[in-house]
Amino acid sequence: MLRLENLTKNFGKAGVFGASLHLTPGEIVAVLGASGSGKTTLLNLVAGLLEPDSGRIFLGNEDVTRQPPEKRGLGYVFQDHALWPHLSALEHLLLVMKTPDRAQAHHLLERVGLGGLEARKPHQLSGGQKQRVALARALAAKPRLLLLDEPYSALDPVLREELRLEVALLLRAEQVSALHVTHDPDEALAVADRVAVMEGGRIVQVDTPAEVYARPQTLAAARAFGRLNLLAVEVQGGQVQLGGQTWAVHGLERGPGLLAFRYEDLAVAPEGLPAKVLAVYGGRGERLCRVNLGVGEAVVKLSAAPGEQVRLAPLGELRVFPLSQEARAHEQGKAR
């Protein structure tokens, strides 16, 4: 459906550099990354709002790299909705339909939960309703590909969670391919078939959300999903020594690195590393503890009380990312 080949747009320090990505028909791919990682630039390149310095963009088999936006047949859901203030919800849909069809427009508005609000203009709608109009407008255009740029970031958390699940269902039902930019890992996990992680303008890993979460290939990919602890360690023969404990690791055979593990990667074990619970917090069905491991602090999914002494061991082999001295000093500083 969408194929990006070595796409580059250089703004100096920022931009997109050598990005390649392939979307199959009906697939939803989330582009995940921190602010300034190049996500929105990538989306604007696909939309035709920016012209790439090099590389090519294909929609189906058509090379659209130099095509203006209006020729690409895309739908776009903007972070700030970008609704037309003088048009009603219904008029938004009719304007973008190739052959305006009132019945179809009404049906689509019903589907996104806006039945009865067809005549309302943007300033008469709530934030969630505006986002639904933006989505209905995008779908009414019958796009070859739907682009979503952090569409729920302006909504409150409850509405955000509700809407993103609804939209994902709708897109799958309509068999619409979508490129969904977000910095929210929960959103990527909830809506995407695959995730493309971006860092410094480059796509550093593309895989299913579960795979990127469980087996990140880079530190940026590991960080993109959050829930990450990092400890500066020295690896010797594929093992690290922590407080007298030896843990087997992968990703680095020898030298300085960062031991990366999620909150749920450590568990209570009688022979484990001694740790003191410093604070307990959490909610939403899990209890998290900030613990002092002796070699640094970490957050662990654990049932314990503040001040309690526990012993912790990894559930499997942990990952170490190699680090330069400079980066290591930085990480050690952060760990303190």
Binding site: Y76, W84, L95, K98, H123
Partner: protein
């Protein structure tokens, strides 16, 4: 460098030179008549001092009102009390003060009368420039002072310096306007032989005793331009979006009182003067409206016809220009910057330049030279209005339409132009009344048969027809107050 760029640069360079041609010609001719300058340097000094003093007065009164309104958290609805003074053409306001001051037996002519009429007319400009600056720049700082107990001198030190750029910009804008103002000194200065550079240039141009009226007027125009140029650097608009702050209202009644007092002095007082003169016989005191007599004057009918024709044509053409340029924001901005020259510099310079440039052509001494002058003078105003609309995000929303497959023309037709409507209306309501009541350009460029309403008022005044002048002034005032209904709101989003 893109292929078309050198060509575009040459185009804009030529256009800028072409638009500035009247000023070049004026400078050239003025340099040939510099001999007059030593004789008018004292008047240049008067002009400069009057403009400086007037700007300070306007800034003091307008700034004071802005401060009171800001501290009292006065609703913008109260602005309605200040705006009429600004919306009425300055020479009509001057006419009102002339008659009103005579009613209370105060000598209206001379420096005092000019400064009074200027302050009444332009203090609201200072208010309109400074109130947003106070809201955006000072509100957060004042809140921080209140929360942290910063008072007295320390508070002044914390609040005043951030306001300097806005004060300087407002002062620059006022100085430029007052230096180039023709109407007020023409009504309240000329009869008392108090000249400013614009009225002096006017007097020299029509002086039968002058050996070279045009050359002398050009030299005076050149001097006027030299005094205006430094202020061009100061006159950029202060920027900043007001943000609501939970400031406690202080001195609400003082602020309301000041607004009412200003409205009484700057609007009601001259209005009473005009009404008294226009409706009652000066000698018998009997009710005897002068509208019929005014209408019977051929010059008034001719003036009304010409003013309406010119105003409608100029506004229509500028509207068309704005619409054509709206989809090309870069070009619109550049053209506006080029035309700003004639909007910001005193109109006297443009008028003299056009006389020099077009005197040998058939356009001279016809209404069409006035139309050209109006277009050059007011184009920047219309284009600024369009620019404000485009900067409010309309261009992006058109882009969104294109992204959804709408063709360029259809996207502008269905999205861009409808959203620009309030800004177009604002532009029309700004330019149309200004053209209708224009005096500076028409006083210098008119010829028999192409007189305007402003010229008719001035002629009636010079011919001793005070009651008829008052009647026309009153009509112009009523017309100008229609501006209070100008849609000021932007696009709802």
């Amino acid at each position: 460098m893109p292929r078309g760029q050198p060509l575009a640069t040459v185009f804009w360079l030529l256009l800028s030179l072409g638009v500035a041609l009247p000023l070049w010609v004026l400078a050239w001719r003025g340099l040939g008549d510099l001999a007059i300058l030593p004789r008018v340097l004292d008047l240049a000094g008067v002009s400069l001092l009057l403009a400086l003093l007037g700007s300070l007065l306007c800034l003091g009164v307008g700034g004071g009102l802005a401060w009171l309104a800001f501290r009292a958290r006065l609703h913008t609805g109260w602005d309605t009390l200040l705006l009429p003074a600004y919306l009425v053409p300055p020479f009509v306001g001057a006419l009102g003060f002339l008659y009103a001051l005579q009613l209370v037996n105060v000598q209206p002519y001379g420096v005092g009368g000019i400064l009074l009429a200027w302050t009444a007319h332009y203090a609201p400009v200072a208010y309109l420039l400074l109130r947003p600056a106070l809201e955006s720049k000072l509100a957060p700082l004042l809140l921080a002072c209140e929360v942290h107990g910063v008072t007295g001198w320390k508070r002044v030190r914390a609040l005043v310096p951030p306001l300097f750029p806005a004060l300087v910009a407002a002062f620059g804008a006022l100085y430029l306007t007052l230096l180039g103002n023709f109407g007020v000194p023409a009504v309240l200065g000329l009869p008392a032989q108090v000249y400013t550079l614009p009225t002096l240039a006017y007097a020299r141009l029509f002086s039968p005793a002058s050996p070279d009226p045009l050359g002398e007027a050009a030299a005076i125009g050149l001097l006027l331009g030299l005094l205006a140029v430094p202020a061009l650097l100061l006159s950029s608009q202060p920027t900043g979006e007001p943000s609501p702050r939970p400031l406690r209202p202080r001195g609400v009644w003082a602020a309301r009182g000041a607004f009412i007092l200003f409205a009484l002095l700057a609007v009601v007082f001259p209005l009473v003067g005009l009404v008294r003169r226009a409706l009652f016989n000066t000698f018998t005191g009997a009710f005897q409206p002068a509208f019929g007599d005014a209408w019977a004057l051929p010059l008034v009918r001719q003036g009304l016809f010409n003013s309406l024709l010119l105003a409608l044509l100029a506004t229509g053409l500028l509207l068309l220009l704005g619409l054509l340029l709206a989809p090309h924001r870069g070009a619109l901005k550049r053209l506006r910057q080029v035309l700003d020259l004639h909007y910001l510099l005193p109109g006297t310079l443009l008028a003299l330049g056009l006389i020099l440039l077009l005197a040998p052509t058939p356009v001279y001494a016809t209404p069409w030279i006035l139309l050209l002058a109006y277009l050059l003078n007011f184009a920047a105003l219309m284009l600024r209005s369009m620019e404000a609309g485009l900067e409010s995000g309309i261009e992006r929303l058109v882009g969104v339409g294109k992204l959804f497959g709408l063709r360029h023309g259809r996207a502008w037709w269905k999205i861009g132009f409808p959203l620009l409507r309030p800004y177009l209306a604002a532009g029309v309501f700004l330019v149309l009344p200004l053209c209708l009541a224009e005096l500076t350009l028409s006083a210098m460029l008119y010829a028999p048969g192409s007189e305007t309403l402003g010229v008719a008022v001035l002629s009636a005044l010079n011919g001793g027809l005070f009651r008829e002048a008052a009647a026309i002034g009153l009509m112009l005032m009523a017309l100008s107050l229609l501006l209070l209904w100008v849609p000021r709101k932007g696009v709802v989003g």
